[in-house]
Chain length 224, copies 2
């Protein structure tokens, strides 16, 4: 068994990477520059890939997709909304069909390299907002990848039924270094601590009772 891990450099996909590297004989990683504001996460992805001992860590440049898929704050000049992920305004961070695009590119790599699976770091904390993080999406994706090529590609989403708290517990057990992950959506030199992504991360560390090793622009602690 071997796999390609879709690796953004955030805590979810980094934890999925180390979990997959534990589970599988051979793991490659695929990161994407698709026009997002901050490439800092790609540096962390590379560091984690090395640490996890992946065979190949590829970064594919999909920045020309940015203009095509504009309307999302992650790829355009729209202001990133501050506040909790569950706020309706956080829908502005949705990139149309993002996970389907990334997963299908990863599946192409899996076929090219003879991997049996792709691994996604999606989790239940995103179910409310993001349709492409839900179980129905994973099921449909796996059904597509069962027929799209000569050999089927499995879809592994080890955190599909847990949230960032569960992810963090797994990561602690695996010894993941979360100082080398990047979560903030805003893209400053230091994590803002206030966007939905930072807020959810800090809540998770608070819930597990572990200190988040990342510095934040705000000195507020815990949830907001």
């Amino acid at each position: 068994m071997s796999a390609v891990v879709v690796l953004s450099g955030g805590m979810d996909s980094v934890t999925a990477l180390h979990y997959a590297a534990t589970l599988h004989d051979r793991v490659d990683a695929l990161s994407v520059h698709y026009g997002q504001r901050h490439a800092r996460e790609l540096d962390e992805a590379a560091w984690q890939a090395e640490r996890a001992g992946v065979g190949e860590h590829q970064v594919v440049d999909l920045s020309s997709l940015g203009a095509l898929l504009s309307g999302s704050a992650l790829t355009s000049d729209v202001d990133v909304p501050r506040g909790h992920y569950e706020d309706a305004t956080m829908r502005a961070t949705v990139v149309p069909n993002r996970n389907a695009i990334l997963a299908n590119i990863a599946a192409g790599v899996a076929v090219a390299r003879g991997h049996s699976s792709i691994v996604l770091g999606i989790h239940s904390g995103d179910h409310a907002i993001y349709p492409d993080c839900r179980p129905a999406f994973v099921d449909a994706l796996e059904a597509l990848l069962a027929v799209a090529n000569y050999q089927p590609v499995r879809v592994e989403a080890p955190f599909l039924h847990t949230d960032k708290v569960g992810i963090l517990r797994v990561g602690q057990a695996l010894g993941v270094d979360y100082s080398r992950t990047w979560t903030c959506y805003v893209g400053g030199d230091v994590s803002c601590g206030e966007c939905g992504s930072c807020g959810e991360r800090r809540e998770a560390f608070g819930a597990v009772g572990v200190r988040d090793p990342l510095p934040y622009a705000t000195d507020r602690e815990g949830a907001f």
Copy 2:
């Protein structure tokens, strides 16, 4: 009803474009440069998009995918096989997961632009060789795109149950100018006339009894 047409510049997708432009209130087109040897087809795609009166014709550069998905003669230095599509050697022209990647990018554009459908020019003549041209693929893709975003995206494959002969008949009825389409896989200044793609095209023109307006490097007529 409106749609995004995946437009390669070959006769199948060009015919699908003109059919969709007839059927829908509004049509955009999406072409991809993904590291293929010949960009000539993209010029023809632009010409046809203008002729069909599309709203926007976008070309997305996915050339960095080429290396990732190497192993196919369409994106790598492997020699393009000569001979009929049904030959086993034509499998060398398979780009891993290509149609799933293209269709999902098109679906992202559809969501961003408020289109109800994507349109693919796939046809039954490719069923034997290409898993991602088969009805099971289209069904699975549509099921994925029903759940991957807030609104479903339909998958229209008007030629799914016909072949290049049927496509050509429809195109003749619609007045499609096939002198501005590009089919050859080899990538010379003039179509080679010998690759599987040229051969299948010439067979279709022969079957319909229409002269193929493209010049060929070989002066042989009809099937080979």
